[in-house]
Structure formats: C-alpha cells, structure tokens
C-alpha cells in the first residue's frame, strides 16, 4: 500500500467537479483508493463520498492506494491534487 499526504491547492477546494476528476482518474486504475481528512475516510472512487470530506483550499488529505497498479495510481492522483485539479492554485 502506498500512503502519502497531499495538499489541496486550488481556490475552490475539493468541490464537485474536482471530485469528479479525482474519481475519473482513480477509476482508470484497479487499485483501491481511499482519501482521508482527519478522521473522515472516503472511497476515492465515489464523488459523493469525496465531497463529504469538505476539503477546502489548504486542507491536507491522506491518500491511500492499494492494488496491482498502486504506484501509477498514486502518482497520477497526487499529481492531480497537487496540480490544483487543472484549475491552477490562484
């Protein structure tokens, strides 16, 4: 299992479209993806689950990826979050 901390950088935080992009990326991999914020944990392949994390800009999330393609999946998801979901950090 790969675990790492990721920082939400985009202005709108982990909002609905960003959550959808995260899930679409996670769904490309077979690995199980979990996203956690403090004590809340969400299935990384569920838009509604991720939205419940209520992660605004500056939130630190804990990413857990486990499965046959975990290193590729973790790299892609980390890049997506760190890259502000393609929305920029401004």
């Amino acid at each position: 299992m790969i675990e790492r901390e990721v920082l939400v950088r985009n202005r709108l935080g982990l909002h609905a479209r960003a959550a959808a992009r995260f899930v679409n990326t996670a769904a490309r991999f077979r690995s199980r993806v979990t996203l956690a914020r403090d004590s809340r944990r969400a299935d990384g392949k569920s838009i509604l689950g991720i939205l419940l994390l209520a992660a605004s800009r500056g939130s630190r999330l804990w990413l857990e990826v486990e499965g046959p393609d975990e290193s590729e999946a973790a790299a892609a998801l980390e890049a997506l979050v760190s890259g502000g979901f393609g929305e920029g950090a401004a």
């Binding site: 959550a19 959808a20 679409n24 838009i47 509604l48 209520a54």
Partner: protein
C-alpha cells in the same frame, strides 16, 4: 443502459441535468421535462411519454426522477409506471451523480439505490462537520 427522465416544475429539470453534466461529464440518454405552471397536466403527460420513448429506445429501462411526490410532474408520470419504467421522487443533484455511475444494473435495484443515496446526501452542515457541537 437505464434512460433518465427528470420531470419537475419550471426550469429545475434542465438546470439539474446541466449541473450534473458539468460535474460528471457526458450524460447520454437523459432528458428534462419542464412542467409549465399553467399546464393542466395534458401537455406534461405527452412530454413525459415522448421523453420515455426517446431515452428508452428499443424498450430499454427508464428511471423517471420527479421533484415532489403528489405534484403534477409526479402525477403525470405515474401512469407510465411499469416493469421497465420506475419513478423516484424528490430528485436532487447527488441522486443524479450516483445514477450516472450505476446505469447498467437492474432498474429496481438502481431505483432503490438512488433513493437511498439521495436521502443520505442531505446534511445539516454544522452537525456533519462539527458533531461535537451538535
């Protein structure tokens, strides 16, 4: 694939579908039926019939999502209830997001799943985010 018809008062159905599309991307075989405030139901019933025929082409399953049980949009949809057409009331955006990902499963199963997720997705924010203060 389960076809989707959203029926409601005013422009709510179009806008709900537009919001869902903005979030999940493409949402094929999904149409909105707006019931005018002045319609006695006859226009709406015909529009629902056309919508079901469109998204359930070839006799495929259709889930009709309506705004409120007992309202005209629901009432004009009820006559179409059948083995291949199910109706769920109280449509909200989380229901559409969930449905977009579950369109290949059996209709009855998806109808119940969409109802349950729609209910579960309603929160009092203060209670959900700060349970210790609630």
């Amino acid at each position: 694939m389960i076809g989707i018809v959203v029926v409601g008062h005013g422009r709510v159905p179009e806008e709900l579908l537009a919001a869902a599309r903005t979030i999940v991307g493409d949402l094929p075989a999904a149409v909105a039926v707006s019931v005018s405030w002045t319609d006695d139901g006859s226009e709406a019933r015909a529009a629902v019939e056309r919508a079901i025929a469109e998204v359930g082409a070839g006799g495929g399953p259709v889930l009709v999502l309506t705004d409120v049980f007992g309202g005209t949009p629901t009432n004009v949809s009820l006559p179409f209830l059948s083995e291949r057409v199910e109706i769920v009331t109280g449509v909200n955006l989380p229901m559409l997001i969930k449905l977009s990902a579950e369109r290949e499963r059996p209709l009855q199963e998806v109808a119940k799943l969409v109802r349950d997720r729609g209910r579960e997705a309603i929160y009092v924010a203060g209670e959900a985010l700060h349970p210790e203060q609630a």
